[in-house]
């Protein structure tokens, strides 16, 4: 009987699907380019054949499969984890500035990594294991602290954001302290870790990140509607039957896992978690069935693109990926938010 609203909804859904498909296509291209670029540029056709296991060329296969593919896939998966966690954070905190970077979670991870680097020689564990483990644990500690401190006043979005900002300053101060007492070698290692780098990627680490992301997805799928309702405000969501407290707690656990595992292996790559959700929101809206996957896909696309850029801006040199994402991300982000005048926040 009512073709109007149903048709309007159909157009929304079609647009959402189109954006998701385009993002998927875009990140496939970016991923292939990422594999193709490096000290020796490989023709994209060769790369594609090798990735699809159709290549006869042993050298290309060796470069692609042992060196470049793990890096390129790590960029995609880590980017997705960052984009996803940023989107969840902005949704549950009802704040466009929320991301693991702006609310102290990344800073916590950085502190955890620095702690191991400084105290490294004293630890019985190999650094290659201890640094990511410590970064992950401190990201979780930061997340838990935000939730617990914010929770003292009812875990409202405002309190949680304030708690996150307090923690950001705390961990930055602690990090500065560590840098101050660190030996020159340790200091250099800390700074390098903070820049972020994909070069330490391996199939094993990639598997861990991918498993954590995959484990989060079923929970998110179950929560898409409650999260969407939360965008109308806490009280309206509760009126619609959402257990807001439990939803927020569950989401914090997801954020902690996603951010923790992402930064643990590649260092603090800022911006992605902030930008990807904004891009997704502008193109798709707030239905979290579209926003969350799109944020993940855009995060993957952005980090992969940044990875290509980090290898190509200065030929022969490798720029730290964290610096590239920020340098490319800032103007893009400003263009994004200044160009969009809809009443979203």
């Amino acid at each position: 009987m009512s073709d109007g609203p149903a048709a309007a909804y159909g157009r929304l859904a079609a647009r959402r699907a189109a954006v998701l498909v385009l993002a998927l296509a875009g990140l496939s291209v970016a991923g292939l380019l990422d594999v193709a670029t490096g000290p020796a540029f490989l023709p994209v056709g060769d790369v594609a054949r090798s990735v699809l296991r159709l290549s006869q060329d042993r050298t290309v296969d060796a470069i692609v499969w042992t060196i470049r593919l793990p890096v390129a896939l790590t960029a995609l998966v880590v980017g997705a984890a960052l984009g996803l966690s940023g989107a969840i954070m902005q949704t549950i905190l009802n704040n466009p500035l929320a991301s693991s970077y702006t609310l102290g979670v990344s800073a916590g991870a950085g502190f955890g990594a620095a702690l191991v680097i400084v105290a490294g020689p004293l630890l019985p564990l190999p650094e290659s294991f201890a640094i990511p483990a410590s970064a992950f644990v401190f990201a979780a500690i930061a997340c838990a602290a935000v939730y617990l401190i914010g929770g003292l006043r009812g875990a409202t979005p405002e309190m949680l954001v304030l708690a996150g900002i307090a923690l950001l300053f705390l961990f930055q101060a602690l990090l500065s302290l560590l840098q101050y007492v660190a030996s020159p070698e340790a200091l250099q290692q800390i700074v390098f870790w903070l820049f972020g780098s994909l070069q330490k990627a391996s199939w094993g680490k990639l598997l861990i990140v991918a498993l954590v992301v995959a484990a989060c997805l079923p929970v998110l799928v179950r929560d898409v509607w409650p999260l969407t309702a939360l965008r109308l405000g806490d009280e309206r969501a509760r009126g619609l039957g959402v257990d807001v407290r439990a939803l927020r707690l569950r989401s914090f656990v997801l954020i902690s896992a996603l951010t923790g595992v992402a930064v643990a292996f590649v260092g603090t790559i800022g911006f992605i978690g902030l930008v990807a959700p904004h891009l997704a929101r502008i193109l798709i809206g707030e239905d979290q069935r579209g926003l969350l996957p799109a944020s993940g896909l855009f995060g993957a696309l952005l980090l992969s693109t940044a990875s290509v850029a980090s290898k190509t801006v200065v030929p022969g040199a490798l720029f730290p990926i964290g610096i590239v994402t920020a340098l490319v991300g800032v103007p893009f982000f400003l263009w994004l938010i200044l160009g969009n005048r809809r009443a979203f926040w």
């Binding site: 009987m1 009512s2 909804y9 965008r231 009280e235 009126g239 039957g241 809206g285 239905d287 009443a343």
Partner: protein, 253 residues
């Protein structure tokens, strides 16, 4: 679904915003809640909706468990999010939405939007509507799941004359037709007298009167509770007309 409140109390720190209220709302009837600003009308609705902690007893069809199907419409809400009207109304069916939105859900949403005359707003962003349009959207959201309990906090306060009548008539149709228990906070006493089956008059958290509109709204009640001197006329078409003349005494919100 029958709603029975006994000694229902809501405290905001020292203040008893709802103070030992006994109230019954029965299926198929509109219970209008009236009273001055700050008298506890919104709080009463939130208490029934389960949005604030309460003391006392609250029974739904004789049982303490709150049904899932409560349609609640808050008094003022102006979210700024990238959600369109059709998506917002769809959220009214939160409990039954699957990951994929079904035909049935879209049909229900379409029907409510048509009934309220806002089908053309469907693709618009909720943050870009006028106050009255927003009010209609959240009314549509409350109605979208065909709930057996409707709690509406000032559903017509921002609406034009025509929409006020349309909404009130729709509420009567829904309430009487589906046997919904409807509780609506109304500031417009003439509308309350004309459309509600029963009225509850609140004053500083307490229930001052409860009964048929003509018994609740009389000259004494208006003077004592509102501090207003008014005359009540039985006007055309048998409708009660409350005409305010002036204020009496000192009055505070």
């Amino acid at each position: 679904m029958k709603i029975e409140a006994q000694a229902l109390t809501v405290r905001y720190r020292a203040l008893r915003a709802v103070d030992r209220i006994d109230l019954v709302a029965v299926p198929g009837e509109i219970l209008g809640v009236v009273g001055p600003n700050g008298s506890g009308k919104s709080t009463l609705l939130k208490a029934i909706a389960g949005l604030v902690p309460v003391e006392g007893s609250l029974l739904f069809d004789g049982k303490p468990g709150r049904p899932r199907a409560i349609g609640y419409m808050p008094q003022d809400i102006a979210p700024r999010t990238a959600l369109t009207v059709v998506e917002v109304v769809l959220l009214g069916r939160l409990g039954r939405l699957g990951f994929r939105v079904g035909r049935e859900d879209l049909d229900a949403v379409g029907a409510v939007l048509e009934e309220l005359g806002i089908a053309v707003l469907a693709p618009r962003f909720i943050g870009e509507l006028s106050g009255g349009q927003r009010q209609l959207v959240f009314l549509a959201q409350a109605l979208a799941a065909s709930p057996s309990v409707l709690l509406l906090d000032e559903p017509i306060s921002a609406l034009d004359l025509r929409h006020q009548l349309e909404v009130l008539e729709l509420l009567r149709r829904v309430t009487h037709g589906r046997g919904t228990a409807t509780i609506a906070v109304l500031h417009d006493l003439n509308a309350a007298a004309g459309f509600a089956d029963m009225l509850a008059l609140l004053d500083r958290g307490c229930l001052r009167r409860h009964g048929a509109p003509a018994d609740v709204l009389d000259v004494d009640a208006l003077r004592e509770v509102y501090g207003v001197h008014a005359v009540i006329e039985r006007g055309a078409a048998g409708r009660t007309m409350i005409v305010p003349i002036g204020t009496v005494g000192r009055h505070q919100a």
